[in-house]
């Protein structure tokens, strides 16, 4: 069965430091991969997505992610973190449309930013 693992439950970084959030997936075919961000009590906002092509994808708010098939990973990066980036981050894989098209989410990584 498809699954997504985010190994880090909570990460704290200093403002201005670089950030990498890890995501590993288990999926038989070429995956559709996503990163979402969620502020407390809010819905999910799409940061970026990977469907095919260039394995380095750029998203909003200065985020990027790299798809590595050999490692089954889709890690999220940002070169310089801002205090407003503090939130919960979710990695997700999408099932094909003919299997329901649902999103399968990881457990999330909570990001705290120190001044």
């Amino acid at each position: 069965a498809q699954s997504v693992t985010q190994p880090d439950i909570h990460i704290t970084v200093s403002e201005g430091a670089s950030l990498e959030l890890r995501c590993n997936y288990s999926y038989g075919a070429t995956p559709y991969l996503f990163w979402y961000v969620q502020s407390p009590g809010q819905g999910l906002q799409l940061l970026l997505k990977y469907f095919s092509g260039d394995t380095l994808v750029q998203g909003i708010k200065g985020f990027e992610a790299e798809f590595k098939r050999s490692q089954s990973s889709f890690n999220l990066r940002k070169p310089s973190v801002h205090w407003s980036d503090a939130a919960e981050y979710f990695c997700a894989v999408a099932e094909p449309y003919n299997q329901g098209g649902k999103l399968i989410f990881g457990q999330g990584t909570e990001l705290s930013v120190k001044p």
């Binding site: 999910l44 449309y97 299997q99 649902k102 999103l103 457990q107 999330g108």
Partner: protein
């Protein structure tokens, strides 16, 4: 343009009661999905509807049901509420059933006491 709207934003119910949550998709979107997010976890898929037909169902008991209306809005119904149903319920819409990019609403926070 308005995004995905959900109502109500917060709700408190007693065990055994019934609840109806509502979702209006982005204008022009024909597919609506529902997710349950328990505190500290990622969202779990409940249902997907497209053109008023159920296209997918997650691993939830029959107490959970949903429907989609001709205007593409949707309702999620939960019967015989349990304490464990307390969660943030998220609605997502997409233009077509085959789209995998979903746009999420702010959610309905359901508390069962």
């Amino acid at each position: 343009d308005a995004g995905v709207t959900q109502s109500p934003t917060h709700l408190i119910k007693t065990r055994g009661q019934h609840v109806t949550l509502r979702c209006s998709p982005i204008s022009g979107h024909k597919s609506v999905s529902w997710y349950q997010q328990v505190l500290g976890q990622g969202p779990q898929f409940i249902f997907q509807y497209y053109e008023k037909e159920e296209r997918g169902r997650g691993n939830f008991p029959d107490r959970f049901s949903a429907r989609q209306f001709p205007n593409y809005s949707s309702e999620l119904n939960v019967n015989a509420l349990l304490l464990g149903d307390s969660a943030l319920y998220l609605c997502a819409s997409s233009p077509r059933g085959e789209d995998t990019e979903a746009f999420f609403g702010q959610g309905t926070r359901l508390t069962v006491v």
